[in-house]
Assembly symmetry: C2
């Protein structure tokens, strides 16, 4: 190859965009979102400070690209919740979604924080929107398959309520907002189990008379 200059460094990186995303996520995990700077990544990859601009025009675009990768990961994990995180395959789709989100958020808290800060992302980006819609559609399918024929609340209401509760819990847990009020166990149950029980009770409540 003659793409090597005097210093033994290739002029073209050749695979910069995916490399940027990879390093960016690594920095995000280990040092937080503030440490994810375009120049830092360029330095890390031995490339000019302005090279990433060809692939991500602005920092917002970079974060958006990162979020897309993360949503794909979460989506994949929620579709087929693997066994190695203690999630047997015969669980309901709803519980798989619940556990996958919980697992992903607790394993990659900085990613989770970033993924849902759409104010810091390109909210108009269609890639982001379609990825959210995939998750939302899957949640709606879970609603359609639970709650009986005449649920007390509409599928949409229950879906929004359920996702809101899950997301709110994740955010406050990750940010440490009400850490003081949190106990690891509630009524002798692991906290997340108690919340899922309540959540299940909430979403499957048929009419209020069926016990």
């Amino acid at each position: 190859m003659d793409t090597v200059n005097i210093e033994g460094r290739a002029y073209h990186h050749g695979d910069l965009k995916p490399s940027l995303l990879e390093v960016a996520l690594q920095v995000l995990d280990t040092e937080g979102l503030e440490a994810v700077s375009i120049r830092r990544l360029a330095r890390e990859l031995g490339v000019a400070h302005s090279a990433p601009a060809n692939h991500f025009a602005t920092r917002k675009d970079l974060l958006t690209g990162m979020a897309e990768v993360c949503f794909d990961e979460l989506s994949l994990g929620s579709a087929a919740c693997p066994d190695d995180v203690g999630c047997p395959r015969d669980e309901s789709a709803l519980k798989a979604l619940y556990r996958a989100t919980l697992n992903y958020g607790l394993r990659y808290p900085n990613r989770y924080r970033m993924m849902f800060r759409w104010g810091d992302l390109n909210a108009e980006d269609t890639g982001l929107q379609t990825r959210i819609e995939i998750l939302y559609r899957r949640l709606m399918q879970c609603m359609a398959s639970t709650g009986g024929d005449t649920p007390l609340f509409s599928n949409e209401t229950r879906a929004i309520a359920l996702w809101s509760m899950l997301h709110g819990y994740m955010v406050m847990r990750i940010e440490g907002t009400i850490q003081g009020g949190f106990h690891d166990e509630i009524n002798g149950m692991p906290r997340e189990e108690a919340l899922f029980a309540l959540l299940t009770h909430l979403t499957s409540e048929p009419t209020g008379f069926a016990g």
Copy 2:
């Protein structure tokens, strides 16, 4: 006063700390969190770029101070929900808390976003912790006064679930996360009303047999 130099500018501002908070919140509301920079505020107040350091050592401290002000405002609003936002005084304490949070978050979305980003704040700051605890205690009181004698879930579980749902809904609404999936009306009910109904049903569920 002889505290005036040649350019007609006082050496000491005299009231810098509260002024900083005031301008900071104004900038936050109108231009977003990124625009809130120490130097910008100093410029705005006609003061040296390093003057704020005497009152807020770091930007994190500044944001923490701002959040404390906001929590005080929210706390005040939730204690006595004023009439001018369509909230009659005879409502239950829980609904007052619910509506106050909803109103504050929708009126000041940027403030709400900042208040709960404890990763960007001094989470060890006691002022922040005590303010959150005030809200959490008030919520727990609401739980104690609802749900009957033998609720299906503990007060703590219900409190966390309720707050999680409310907070998660606020965040996703403000960030525009699932805006596509949101409709203004659900089953002919305003969206927030439907969610509150579900939430009330959730928190007041006595045993599952009482209808």
